[in-house]
Each structure stands twice: as C-alpha cells, then as structure tokens.
C-alpha cells in the first residue's frame, strides 16, 4: 500500500527583515515542482524555525535573509537543530549574502547558499538531488 512520497520544505525568514518577495517566489517555484511548502511568514526566531521544522517533519529548511544578519542567524539555526537531534534536515540559504561569507556558512552546516539571480530550477534540482524520501 506504499503511496507517493512528497518532499516537504519549510521556507523561513529569520530575524528582522520585512521583505519576503524572494521567499514567496521560491515557495511558488517549489510548489510547482511538486513539493509541499510550509511558509511561516516574516520575523521568525531560530527557535521558532527549528520547532516548526520538527512539528512539520520537513526534509528541507530554506532560510531567506536580506538583513545582513546571516552570519549569526544561520549558524544559530544549525546549532538548535543539532540540540534537537534534527541535523538530518537539509538546510539551504538564500538572499543578499556576500561571496566571502559563504564558506563560513557552509562550515556551519548550511549545505548550499543561493544568491540573487539563481534560476529557481537550480534550487529545485539541488533539493531533489540531496533529499532522500
């Protein structure tokens, strides 16, 4: 009776950042590629993001940030995931993130960082290649 398996993704906006146009575009693109996208709205704390990811049992968290606080907020999300034994969740980031910050974020556990201009198909392919359902 095994049915189909759907990839579930949480798209979250951590911190004080009032712009979510980009996050909505990504959410819509993932929807159109057959994924279930949980969107939680603006100004989420890392604690809220991690708790939501666990309650929703997502395989992917997409963090979108434009405020410049990524070097603090992204690693904090990773730390909380480890505390909750949920580091199996794939975490990707996007938004206005300077090139030189990307290696540090990857070291903290962010699997990939997508900066402005990335075609949505690249993100979809990355998720499909890296998530096992």
């Amino acid at each position: 009776m095994a049915g189909s398996k759907t990839i579930r993704v949480l798209i979250a906006k951590p911190g004080l950042d009032g712009h979510d146009r980009g996050a909505k575009v990504i959410a819509r693109a993932l929807r159109d590629s057959g994924m279930e996208v949980i969107y939680t709205g603006l100004r989420q704390t890392p604690e809220q993001i991690v708790e939501t990811a666990i309650q929703e049992d997502v395989q992917v968290i997409g963090l979108s940030i434009l405020s410049g606080a990524h070097n603090f907020l992204f690693p904090r999300v990773m730390e909380l995931l480890r505390e909750k034994n949920a580091e199996d969740i794939l975490v990707i980031g996007g938004g206005v993130i300077p090139e030189e910050d990307i290696p540090g974020l990857k070291e903290a556990g962010i699997k990939e960082v997508f900066t402005p201009g990335t075609p949505t198909s690249e993100i979809i392919n990355f998720i499909k290649a890296n998530v096992k359902v």
């Binding site: 759907t6 929807r31 279930e36 709205g41 309650q55």
Partner: protein, 315 residues
C-alpha cells in the same frame, strides 16, 4: 523507547514522523495505529470550516490560546489545497499562528489535501487519532477554504464551527443545502464590516425554518478574529455545545456513526483493491470487448462478478 511509547508521552518529533508515514501510506502505519487505538477517544475534536480568507486560521490561533489558558493541550491540523497538476502545495496557515509555535502544549501540523475533495486530506483522519493518543485535550482541524459542498469535516469533528463573512451573496445563499447545514456553531467573522448584521439575520431566519427538533439550534457568534474579539464567547459556546451534545447522548451517536462510516469505507477500499486485483485479466478482456461494442459495460460487470471462481472466493 519505541515510537508508540514516545507518542503516548506526547513527543512531537515522533508525532510528526508518524503523520508523515500516514501521509505516505507506509506499510508500518497499520501496526502503529493498531497499538495506539485503545488510547484514543478522549480528545474533543473541533472542525473550523468556511470559505477562503474568512479568517479560519486567525480564529484557530486565538481559540488555541484560550484553550491554553485552561492549561489544556491542543493539537492543530491545518489543511491547504494541493495542486491537481503538480501535487505541490503552499501550506500557509501557520502564518497566522506564529505565537503558538514555541508553546509546549501545542502541536501544529500543516497538510496538503493531496487529491481529497471534501475539504480534508485522506491522512487527516488518522492524524487526528495520533494527536488524540498523544494526549491532546482539544484537536482543532482547519479545513481547506471551502465552497458550498465540502462537508467531510462532519466525519471528523465532534463540533463543526462554520466561519462566514459579510458580503458573500444574497439571502438565497443562506438557505442552500450543503455547508450551511453542517454547522454546530456559526461564526460571523469580520463583523465590523458592513452587512454583518444582515448576514446574522439571514442565518437566523434559515435556522428558524429547521424542522429537526432533535438538533441543538446552532448559536451565532460575532467575531473580529484579527483583534481577538468574540473569541472568549466562542470558547464558552464550544464548551456549552459540547456539554449539551454529551449530556443528550448526541455526541455518542455522532461518534458511533462516524466509526461505522469509517469501517464501511475501509471495507469498501480493501474489497475494491481485492476485486480489481483478482479480476485483472478479465477486466482487460472485457475492456477490449466493450471497446469493440461486443458487449455493454453493465452486462460485462455482471458477467465478471457472476463468475463462479470469482466473487465468493476472494479472501
């Protein structure tokens, strides 16, 4: 500790995992639900339904907070539509429930409808059982935004709250069959807008025409959900309706009817699978014959079922 033990202790990760397994129709689900079954039946289930944008999520948000004031545990299942084209979905009900995320006594799960057309998802029925076994005192089920005929919530909820807003049409809408008939409680949300009182009058007139004396007459509550107005009254009304349903024995009748229906649906589902698989070859042959106009579908169906080695011997 195994998954069942963890769920009985209310572990959110395990609850979430099992709901995913249910959604994916995994093999092990049947055994797990079997073990959980005897721990179900304690929670009060409340369905929140109504058209898109009526304010269902906002009402759920404030109502859950009210239940928490009494230190009750609350499980929430929020369903949004799945695309019939891609199978994808945007699940956005949590946007209105952000403050609830970190509350220890609340668990929220968003679900895609995944092809179900009655306002719920197939997996939501078993998900409610999981939350019930996990010790939730209240389980709130928020349906997809509905039109006129999506009424599956009556198969899942003890109490159905129908959320309406002013300006949705003339008085004939209020006397139409379907969703207007399933409410135990009417909520007129956005009641600060023009037309709220007219809507209440129309619902009232419609309820006065109801002939069924055994039914409790549904109360009508005015709310402005974004401001939390009217939610205290809704909370009291839910408790009152629950008490009346319980004391009059109607709740027991409702629950029994639901179990009976669930059982029949399961039998039908299993049986159809068996029939289709045991007659596969014959179905193929007769499909060809129907296509060539050698036989009509009714005669073909009876010919397949009346076959002596067929229908009776399925097990």
């Amino acid at each position: 500790m195994d998954m069942v033990q963890k769920i009985l202790k209310g572990d959110k990760r395990s609850i979430a995992r099992l709901i995913t397994l249910i959604e994916n129709q995994a093999e092990e689900v049947r055994e797990l639900l079997k073990q959980l079954h005897k721990f179900t039946g304690k929670a009060i289930t409340i369905g929140i339904t109504g058209p898109p944008g009526a304010g269902k999520s906002s009402i759920v948000n404030f109502l859950a907070k009210k239940f928490r004031e009494d230190n009750k545990k609350v499980g929430i299942i929020a369903i949004d539509p799945t695309s019939p084209f891609t199978g994808g979905a945007i699940l956005g009900d949590r946007i209105r429930m952000q403050d609830l995320t970190l509350d220890e006594g609340i668990y929220i799960r968003s679900m895609g409808s995944r092809g179900a057309l009655g306002g719920l998802s197939r997996a939501s029925y078993d998900a409610v059982k999981v939350l019930d076994a996990a010790g939730m005192d209240y389980i709130i089920i928020e349906t997809v935004g509905v039109g006129q005929s999506e009424v599956d919530i009556i198969k899942l909820a003890d109490i159905v709250v129908l959320v309406l807003i002013p300006g949705m049409g003339d008085e004939v809408q209020a006397i139409k069959a379907g969703v207007m008939e399933i409410a135990d409680i009417f909520v007129v949300n956005k009641s600060d807008l023009d037309g709220a009182d007219r809507l209440i009058t129309e619902i009232q007139l419609n309820l006065d025409l109801n002939q069924d004396k055994n039914r409790i007459k549904p109360p009508i509550i005015k709310t402005v959900a974004t401001a939390g107005e009217g939610i205290a009254e809704l909370n009291i009304t839910i408790k009152d309706i629950h008490k009346r349903l319980h004391d009059s024995g109607l709740l027991q009748i409702k629950r029994k009817a639901r179990i009976c229906q669930e059982l029949q649906e399961l039998i039908r589902e299993i049986h159809i699978k068996q029939i289709v698989s045991s007659f596969e070859a014959k179905i193929d042959i007769f499909t060809e014959k129907i296509l060539k106009k050698e036989i009509d579908p009714y005669t073909a169906a009876l010919a397949i079922l009346n076959n002596k080695n067929g229908y009776i011997s399925i097990d």
